[in-house]
Assembly symmetry: C2
């Protein structure tokens, strides 16, 4: 069932997608402004449920890549992602029937909407990470056999870089990251071109509508003076992300963050309001691990979301700062993201973490 | 007039092309071995004089790019340059009628011969630098209006990167260098695709045959126990490179060399045999400036060639080492390389040198 996404939906979607971005995926405010500008000029966009995409359809996902610390200062002009899509179409001698997000996040749930508004293509309600991940090989698309390349990286001077690494998605990431760094630290991309049948087989479904529902839940809770975390849990319960656990409540005590190798990498320390307990997180664009008093409570690919304590507003890793009062929640990921094949591509070891994956619902029993 | 270049020509060509490489352009021994291997399998190659190329012909130059310090250790598999050419052909939907060197040098005079042997295409007796330069925008092709992109960078895992920066050849170099660095510091390329008419208008003509003649001259001088420098001067006199000046004779006293940003950068100090005089050179892959006792004697784009004192064998910047006994000569470049447009792209200021270009024949009058 297709539906129309208009400017009025964007504040909710930006907030909910940023939550699914688990600390990364780019600044939600900037993403929203980009889509608003595109919709003002070109009108709303059509969203397709993955179930209704024709098996033979040609789908070209679009996104922004780069360190969020850079993306927040280097705003795209607006047409770079369309250039990436058009260049990939020309390279493959085939016209796209739809675009799709590659990840959830404040910017990367929005870029495909910009492309959809500007080109008139529909956008598919699904993505390839079910959250945000820092690297391009970390896609369920690739986990289940769709090659990421040929892909196109597009910069703000109209330049394009078309990368073909065959089925080697890690090498694709390596070369694309190099191009994005030389384009100033962030760039727009089109990659993982695939059939509608592959979308149904490999994508994490309905994450755009989930982002919208999460954002709406947070807003309504705020309007009704309800607890935002309970509101999130209610929205998530019937979905593939059914378990939400409160990991911690307290204040940001320390943030160490560097923009290095094209990523925002670092760690943060949080102290409970009574000062007796400590949460430590590590991140590479996205939050990777949450340890409370030395015990791992949540780890990739499960979601670690830092929220403003009062409003439930998601806080991205590049905006974490001393003194913020937060509640940190862990959210379980759909089964498609927890298979051995998936963990081999974006499990803890892929980030150099010396810990096994353990589902958040096991690590933190309902207490 | 076309001619055939066979395995027997390669030792002379490797030596002479390395001389024109003015310290860069890659190791002549490795280049020679690569062509020998290709010719053993595929036979000799046809060389076309630029004057006989059809105006409508489609010419795709091929080369290796990277720091010579890396190129000497990371030997190409052999088919990467053909992959680059084929990928560019596919991108432009046009088949090449010939390939051509982009520069003179131990490796880069040879790569197009590898491509020619493997594909059966002829190679054009001309190039785009009339020597070697470290950066891809430093081409007479570009100076006189041929865009370098779209271009293809090809690595040893079969991966390709197709770069399109419109008419911005500096941005092309920046992105291609980034790709080459991520491919391990060296890669094979196809770029500056152009018409036969553009070859006639923008290329430095007959530099392959000049390399061959210079190498032959050096070899014959050695066989006849004649002075190698006089032999070189005789070969050069009737060409566009008509002035040869001896800048210095002495020993290498100090070499400072780093592989940085994808280049071999550094400086060398030479002391005369009687210890009374000092030559200082600076290089970025290629020799850029030669100062004798503080006075500039030769500067880009004129050629600064360090030769083994006894044999006249060219010494590349990555093989310079303490104690080598050398004679250093300066060679004037053809007029097409000394115009204001050319100096704006590869004159002294383009390398951050604080000196004006002065023709070597003026800086060093015949003494």
């Amino acid at each position: 069932m297709s539906w129309t996404l208009g400017p009025g939906d964007l504040p909710d979607l930006a907030r909910g997608a940023a939550l699914l971005g688990t600390g990364g995926g780019g600044d939600p405010h900037i993403g929203r402004l980009m889509v608003e500008a595109a919709m003002r000029e070109h009108g709303p966009v059509t969203v397709l449920d993955p179930g209704e995409v024709d098996d033979a359809a040609f789908v070209v996902p679009t996104a922004m890549m780069g360190a969020p610390t850079v993306m927040v200062e280097k705003i795209p002009r607006g047409d770079e992602a369309v250039t990436a899509l058009r260049t990939l179409e020309a390279h493959l001698s085939r016209s796209a029937d739809a675009t799709m997000p590659i990840e959830c996040g404040g910017i990367n749930s929005m870029i495909p909407l910009v492309v959809a508004a500007r080109t008139g293509l529909p956008v598919i309600d699904a993505d390839g990470m079910g959250r945000a991940f820092p690297e391009l090989q970390m896609e369920t698309f690739g986990v289940y056999g769709v090659p990421g390349s040929p892909m196109v990286v597009s910069g703000d001077h109209g330049e394009t870089v078309t990368i073909d690494t065959g089925t080697d998605n890690r090498r694709m990431e390596w070369l694309a990251r190099g191009a994005a760094i030389r384009m100033g630290g962030a760039a727009l991309i089109a990659e993982y071109a695939m059939s509608g049948a592959d979308v149904k087989r490999t994508a994490v479904p309905r994450t755009l509508s989930l982002g919208l529902a999460l954002g709406r839940g947070l807003r309504e809770a705020r309007e009704q003076l309800r607890d935002p975390v309970s509101a999130l849990a209610e929205v998530l319960a019937p979905t593939g992300y059914s378990h939400l656990r409160v990991l911690f409540a307290g204040k940001v005590a320390d943030v160490e963050r560097r923009t290095v190798d094209g990523f925002a990498k670092g760690r943060a320390r949080f102290v409970s309001f009574d000062g007796t307990s400590t949460l430590r997180t590590e991140f590479q664009n996205e939050n990777l691990i949450a340890e409370v008093d030395g015990a791992v409570r949540c780890i990739v690919p499960d979601l670690i979301c830092v929220l403003e304590a009062e409003s439930g507003e998601p806080i991205t890793t590049e905006t974490l700062r001393y003194g913020q009062r937060v509640v940190v929640v862990g959210i379980s990921t759909p089964d498609i993201m927890r298979t051995p094949e998936a963990l081999a591509v974006f499990g803890p070891a892929c980030f150099g973490l010396d810990a096994e994956f353990r589902p958040v619902e096991e690590a933190v029993p309902v207490g």
